[in-house]
Amino acid sequence: MLEPIRQKAKEILEKKEADGVLGLRKGLWDVIHPHVFTTPEEIDALVLEPKWLLAKMARAILREKPRSYRLAVAVRGCDERALVELIKRNQIDHERLLTIGYACDGGQAKACLCSRPYPQKLDAGSAVEGVDPLADERVKAYLEGDAGERMEKWTAQLKRCIKCYGCRNSCPICVCVPCKLEDDVWVERGVIPAEMVSFHHIRAFHLSDTCVACGACQEACPVGIPLMTLQLSMRAALKKEYHYEAGLDANRKSPVLFDFEKEPRPGQDVPDWVDSMGKKP
């Protein structure tokens, strides 16, 4: 899989389709780090592992460079979805972006609980079947039981939070400056662990219709809180009610932003103003 990707990257640079290719490079002492390749000769150092989301980095590079600069990014499934979400939110100009997509293997998909371990534009590798995260034991444990049991499980997890903001910083879609999580109005300052209700719920809710389930937040969490699990039921609800999944179509905005006429729930009849009068729900 590595060779076709290198080939593709070389082609892009030779044909000057892009000014640079963003990918991982095996550098001095075999240290792997993100790098913008600018010459075809350099490409031989391009590697694909480990999983390292480059979407936010691509945004930063494109903002820095002049508007004529075009960037190609070597992406896996989740990274591509994150890029789509960033394009949707006007963070990246889609005309300045190229992707070289490669699929993850089954092991990676299982480790990430990924339901779509492949990009839509696949350049190398073959797509493996995804995993249903809601059927996995690790996730199920947190979503089962009555409210009291879940409350116990979640408070036990969240009280270990050291408020390092790793979840926010590693998220490929969190780009707001300033951030509500740093504001005294929403989250009490100088309190550790972070206020459990406000900090975690606000963070999770802000990503409700944007989360691409890459798992970066929980990989970054130093105390191992299963943060992605918080998003899964909201993702499932969006999929069920509006047939919407984040990161697939840059032209479809979140259905939560529109009224029922524009984004109806399938099967739901929008009541007429007159119809709804005097009706007890």
Partner: protein
């Protein structure tokens, strides 16, 4: 876990076209209600930020009610539709974490009538009394 009797705190976001008029009507009819709720008047249910609802729970409210107009009868060009969608999404999140979506009451489409308003407040108060205490969420207990 012990029930939350005697510690019910309801924050009501009432839209001034429906919810607030319902509240006014309940007052004029002298319907006796529990004094456990506080009302925040807003111009439209669209004004109710999900973050504000979360902040209310974090600040000690045990229940939040959002009272808006009929779906389809909003004064602001269906501005209450996205509000309803957002808050339903928030309910899903609250259900996941165990705070419970039933602590968030969405009264879209009924609140104009004062008796329904009163019923809603009384029923919600009674329901919250039976729910487990939220104390473990608020004090991390090192």
């Amino acid at each position: 876990m012990s029930a939350d009797r005697g510690n019910v705190k309801i924050l009501v976001f009432a839209c001034r076209w429906c919810g607030l008029i319902g509240a006014d009507g309940a007052g004029r009819k002298r319907i006796e209600l529990p004094s456990s709720f506080r009302v925040i008047p807003v111009d439209c249910a669209g004004y109710v930020e999900p973050d504000a609802v979360i902040r209310a729970f974090a600040s000690g409210a045990t229940g939040v009610a959002v009272l808006g107009c009929h779906v389809g009868g909003c004064r602001f060009n269906d501005a209450n539709h996205p509000a309803l969608k957002r808050l339903e999404m928030l309910k899903t999140l609250l259900d996941t974490t165990g705070i419970g979506g039933n602590r968030l009451l969405l009264g879209f489409g009924t609140a104009h009538e004062s008796h329904q308003y009163a019923d809603m407040i009384v029923d919600f108060h009674r329901e919250l009394e039976g729910l487990p205490s939220m104390a473990s969420w608020l004090s991390p207990g090192q």
